[in-house]
Symmetry: C2
Subunit: 354 residues, 2 copies
DNA sequence: GTTAGCACTCTAACCCGTCGAGTGCTAACA
DNA sequence: TGTTAGCACTCGACGGGTTAGAGTGCTAAC
């Protein structure tokens, strides 16, 4: 079966119509379009072919057609190819209010990411998630021990990408102020610039030697450092716009809504599922992936599509932004919005890193 | 109309039955209970009286009865009074797995609160929210400036209650390491132990004098301190168990589910609504409040009940824990669980503050 | 290759009768 | 006087039958 230009036109028309209404699209509706001014009967013939090719289906006999995953895939691939062509976008989308993010003093990356998730959710009417920045290649930028109370010190650990984490350490022994300064110096000297793998036994034993009496402190600090590197909770996940799923009846039937909301609340699972998706920075500079239906690696999202982008803070530190919506989401708008967001982010980092 | 003991018994029986099933309760069901072994007709007479008193209603003619807000209120007040009586609880509830929290090194209060919300949600099958600790009387414990990159320094601000916040400050001028140490010393000397109100103009101008050339740094640090004190985002709100609302059909009909989830996602609004509830630590030591239906100060929760407890980290630093469920929630269990949680918390803080 | 016509199918909406749960009322009973 | 049995009544839930409308596939004509 040949997939000629007209069939494609019809497929796209069905997809776009279905995106708007969420209702199966009939032949009459299509035949009313200017660019496809044929009689319903003709359209029906073509639709039968499209169905045979597995691009559309009928939910039941005598209903209109809706696109299949395969149909969407065709549509999306075409669109992505076209987007790659035109380097300069007409940018007729309403500009995102990202200026806020830009102009604000960006002191905590995490806060900015949450804000970004919120803006994206509000603008797209889909659900968004952002994984915090992380990296295997991430390095220790510096660490700082400060006295707090009797018996407790504050250890601040900073990784590349400005990932900051505080740890309050309770000590059994008493450590004087000067000694703490000394420890600070030693620790930074030995550890700064190292990645997690590079902090091996030999480094540790050297450190312990130098630390002299304060082995306990060193051990606890190293724990804290390890924890900062560790995925488990230095891998925050921000979500926003969860209630948007209620806009799409096909996502809220049965227990689906409950399952989706649960998945979104379980940020750890979500983060590792989405965060570990490959970021094939192969071809284009813009690294945007589209997962449709069954392609989504999360069980409860098999009725959804997910569009992800990878952002990068330099030094190999990166994270993912995901937009989660119904399979009939407006891929075009989502992809463009994400691209725009990525350039904003680049702007911010050029400015910050300088 | 007299509200005698038997009427009360019947009311309680209706409430308890309705808690289990969520279905209107008929006279036959009640008459089958051992302690109320009367004929359905007798029960019906009593029920008619209870309805006249506004304690129960029929959703429609010829349906069973369900409790009104007023009915619940009576029930809850009675229960709270009884709880206040017996000082020693039999504690037949399954123990909460709070040991994890206790045994873990508590380095970040916020993390512990989130964990607590999760445990409570999992144990009660309701939705929980916890507002982060805050206080008008909160004091600056200490602050620490450290060099990060060229032109940027890390300012760590610690308030009483171990509220820690990081701020990355971008400076126009270059500040040497020794100068930074000096600034550190000056700032801590002047500011440690002060509350937000006490950091007034005279303190600030003194500081600026002492700082000499580095007025810019001082200004930015003060900004950072103010921000840490400020409610807006040092007032985090953690929620957990949002999907639990789907267990209760009366909360998910129509757009209610969507509105509830939205409210839970808008943590700021939620936090200020719940967080600003009075914590009348008047009578009992255990400060537990129950809000039923319309008493809940959040529009989208008028079909819910909310039970709150106030926790306190000493030094006037406190926050709230809220449990959100249907009006037919198991108040008894929720109140007891909250009480247990509060004693756990007390345990943790006695240990920490020591 | 396109179109009009037609018979067919399926869903959604509606009506209607039935069933069962539950009520209120009354009259009889202890 | 409080309790109970009996009875007529009401209402929601359920199932079946009908109808209206949307949309299809097929065939024959253009």
């Amino acid at each position: 079966m040949e997939l000629d230009a007209r069939k494609l036109e019809i497929l796209y028309a069905i997809i776009e119509q279905y995106q708007e209404t969420g209702e199966p699209v009939g032949s009459r509706t299509i035949s009313k379009l200017e660019r496809l001014n044929f009689s319903p009967a003709t359209i029906r013939n073509e639709m039968a072919d499209l169905e045979e090719m597995g691009l559309i289906v009928q939910p039941h006999t005598s209903a209109g057609r809706i696109p299949t995953d395969k149909g969407y895939r065709l549509y999306v691939d075409k669109m992505l190819a076209e987007q790659a062509q035109k380097t300069e976008e007409p940018r007729d989308l309403p500009a995102l209010p990202m200026q806020d993010l830009l102009s604000r003093r960006i002191d905590r990356v995490e806060e900015m990411l949450l804000k970004m998730a919120q803006i994206l959710a509000a603008n797209t009417n889909y659900t968004t998630m952002v994984t915090g920045p992380h990296s295997r290649k991430s390095k220790l930028k510096f660490l700082q021990l400060s006295p707090m109370d009797k018996g407790r010190i504050l250890a601040v650990v900073v990784l590349s990408g400005d990932i900051v984490k505080n740890n309050i350490l309770s000590l059994d022994e008493e450590v004087g102020n000067d000694e703490l300064m000394e420890l600070n110096f030693i620790l930074n000297k030995r550890l700064t610039g190292l990645s997690l793998e590079e902090i091996n036994l030999s480094v540790i034993s050297e450190l312990k030697n130098e630390a002299g009496a304060h082995v306990e402190v060193v051990a606890k600090v190293l724990d804290a450092v390890a924890e900062t590197f560790a995925k488990e909770d230095s891998y925050p996940v921000y979500t926003s716009g969860a209630p948007n799923i209620f806009r799409y009846p096909e996502l809220t039937g049965g227990d689906r809504a409950s399952e989706l909301i649960s998945t979104l609340e379980e940020k750890k699972t979500l983060g590792s599922a989405i965060g570990s998706l490959p970021s094939e920075s192969g071809g284009s500079r813009q690294d945007i992936q589209v997962y449709i239906g069954d392609e989504v690696p999360v069980e409860s999202m098999k009725d959804c599509s997910v569009v992800t982008a990878t952002y990068s803070l330099g030094d190999g530190v990166q994270g993912k932004i995901g937009i989660i919506g119904p399979k009939r989401m407006n891929y075009q708008k989502v992809v463009e919005t994400l691209k725009e967001t990525m350039s904003h982010l680049d702007g911010i980092f050029l400015q910050t890193e300088e």
